[in-house]
Symmetry: C2
Subunit: 458 residues, 2 copies
């Protein structure tokens, strides 16, 4: 679409980008992990990228889009995997990364501009010995607003669960897309109205979250003779309430070679467990690993691990960049035919099901397990690598996993209706009608919504 | 027994107490919660109380007792309930409370003199925003050494489990009872050699534990229509991984009147839940309580709660002093015929068993529940009040509970053999042979030991 002159005029002096390179780069996220999304989303483009400097700018953009009925897609760090930042109908991409303030923090909580990158937040909190409870493996680029809008879990989930758990997000501030935009503060359970809505329920401008007083997280890698042994250790370790931990990731022996720089830390055919643990308790961890036949092959102290994460030293990147969906990134770089799935194992029999998946799909579905707490119990999720054959085969795999009791979230769809949207127990649709009455927020992202909306306007 | 002159000479200038009042008071702990222990232990007396000023003094006392074959009983704050501090065979009581140094602390860990009181440790750690992970309700008087030797859990267990869990104690320093005492450092799993050994396995002089970076713990009381509703809420709340918490205690409606100063915070027939939660997440807690039919009847902010605990303000004592075994203390003050039991409910069906106990024993066994994490799962333990009828009836109750699957630890015995001693998976007996070769540490505490030992010496 062509950008109406009246929109340009309404934007006034707010910085914009219109060169083809910027339009392309800021219309993308990591959807290309999926061959199916890659085909569908690759050519989607913003017509203009707007880069607000502050909340007043955001409100002017919201008003301008409402007045001119121009689609608006909100973009954080662009680290999502389901096209959260891809403008399906063109129009404006709103780059939020200048709203990056630490608004305040005190013991146990902090409030941040939605565009603040999570690593930068932790940098700012470090002198106060506090930190974000969770971060995705994309901590360096991901924004807190984008994570709340489209994320779920990450490093920290082995202790704190998921970001949709009770109390995990304290408040969210949202700007509505209207001629006279409103600033809405959602607190308590109302935050669920915008969480996992992938940015279609208003523009998140500020986020308030509980913080964790920080532990000195050191890094360890342990090698195990098999996936089963590694998984049993990881489960037992995550159940050790008395050992403070930030990350517990298990890699199948077949995954290890894709993690190039880590490959030397496991022998041929060995599984690998990546751990971040409170440094004074590393000894307790190592004893438990030995009990399970594990051997510690890599150790990095907390101070050095911190420096690696904060890019204060060169050398091996932080180990969390070899976990969660970074695993897929490493693998695709080596073998572009690889894609992935999203699985959750039920706590009652997660280890048995892990064994079953490994046996059933052998070299087609390569497991890595992210251990976490879910509603007071320990279990694991997985973003397994998949050697891609066809969309049909992918569907067949998912159906078989689902039938067996492994919960599947399909990461190969960009529409929300069958993904996050309907699973959250909150009046998201009602809120959208209020926050985005003209249905301008990334139209197409909600399939059924668009139909309803068109009727409403007509 | 008469104290040999040679012992006196060996003690040299180490401070001692010999007046009848001191001998009586320092030969006691809270064993009198049990009518059975009260009868057995009430007349046990030290012949002399020795108050070492430092580790060198401790070693001189150990050597003196070994040389003169005088029994030695180690005493911390005297807050135990099973005669841990009661010298069954007289002799020396070693009062450790002058060894109260904060030896060092750094993020995530600290090392303390065994005689340091737990509240004082937290006072010292407060400027560094760290705290002990656990404390018993007797935090004000209990020493860290005594807690390691004879404690198990307390405030903090809803997050961190128990002190015998892997990694929960990093190291213990022990002085042996020999003519030439040795200082032994136990690290890793070796700490189990002295934990829950009630001071008969050497003199604990220093303790190294992981610390928790501290949250701002505020206090809440919620009232519920029934014990069952309160227990279900407390279970669900403890399962909320995303809400940082320090204490979750449920009181049966029949217990509430005994907690005099708290009684106004529950209506007639209402159960009560006492909570310490990270202040920024109190709202999430209150929402969950409302879901379960609970009403918040008391709120105290984190700063005020801290001041109350640190005795910087007058007024209501900290709420944890109405939980765990303090409950029994409050009840006995009102009704001296009350005693208590120690129960652990299995995680798989704890709530069903709670219902069963409440129904089966109605006004004879009054439950209060301490919710905690055990090996990665949420469950509850209980120190229920019991309207005492006879030792036989107490045995019958315990047998019935045990048969139903509720784990019972008998708090009405002062011998270790059937209590903590045999349950810990560590070579405690072997260690005792090394640390106390003459069997001088509170002889009588280990029934079978004494027999073996006598043979060995004979």
């Amino acid at each position: 679409m062509a950008i109406p002159a009246s929109l340009r005029q309404d934007l006034c002096d707010i910085p914009v980008l219109e060169d083809p390179g910027s339009l392309r780069m800021r219309s993308r996220d990591f959807f290309w992990f999926s061959p199916i999304l890659k085909e569908t989303l690759d050519d989607k483009r913003a017509d203009i990228v707007v880069v607000p400097r502050d909340k007043a700018d955001v409100m002017r953009v919201a008003a301008a889009c409402a007045r001119n009925r121009v689609p608006l897609t909100v973009r954080g760090g662009g680290t999502g995997n389901y096209g959260q930042a891809v403008p399906l109908a063109g129009g404006v991409v709103l780059d939020m990364t200048k709203l990056d303030q630490v608004i305040w923090h005190r013991p146990g909580a902090g409030r941040f501009g939605a565009g603040a990158r999570m690593l930068d937040i932790d940098r700012a909190l470090a002198p106060a010995a506090h930190e974000l409870r969770f971060y995705p493996s994309t901590r360096q680029h991901a924004t807190i607003g984008g994570f709340i809008a489209g994320g779920a879990a990450g490093a920290g989930s082995c202790t704190w669960g998921q970001i949709s758990d009770p109390g995990a997000v304290l408040a969210v501030e949202v700007v509505t897309i209207e001629e006279h935009p409103r600033v809405v503060e959602l607190r308590g359970r109302d935050v669920l109205k915008v969480m996992h809505a992938y940015g279609v329920n208003g523009i998140i401008t500020e986020v308030e979250v509980p913080l964790a007083p920080s532990h000195p997280w050191c890094e360890r890698i342990a090698a195990f003779p098999s996936l089963a042994a590694a998984a049993r250790f990881a489960h037992a370790f995550t159940e050790c309430d008395g050992i403070a931990k930030k990350l517990v990731t298990v890699h199948d022996p077949q995954v290890v070679p894709y993690l190039r720089r880590l490959a030397p830390y496991a022998g041929p055919g060995q599984a690998m467990v990546i751990i971040m643990v409170s440094e004074p308790q590393a000894e307790a961890l190592e004893l438990l690993a030995a009990d399970h036949g594990g051997e510690i092959t890599f150790r990095r102290g907390a101070e050095e691990a911190r420096q690696a994460a904060f890019a204060e030293i060169s050398g091996l990147q932080p180990l969390y960049e070899f976990t969660w969906n970074h695993t897929t990134l490493h693998a695709i770089r080596i073998d572009p035919s690889i894609t992935y799935l999203q699985l959750r194992f039920p706590p009652a029999n997660n280890l048995e099901l892990v064994d079953w998946v490994a046996e059933r799909f052998r070299d087609e579905v390569l497991l890595h397990l992210e251990f976490q707490r879910r509603f007071g119990k320990v279990t694991c999720s997985s973003l397994p690598l998949v050697r891609y054959r066809s969309a049909e085969r992918l569907d067949a795999i998912m159906a078989e996993l689902d039938a067996k009791g492994v919960a599947v979230s399909n990461p190969h769809t960009f529409v929300l209706d069958n993904a996050g949207w309907k699973r959250v127990d909150a009046p998201q649709a009602e809120f959208k009608r209020m926050a985005d009455p003209y249905g301008l927020m990334n139209p197409g992202k909600l399939k059924h919504w668009q139909a309803e909306d068109m009727q409403a306007i007509a």
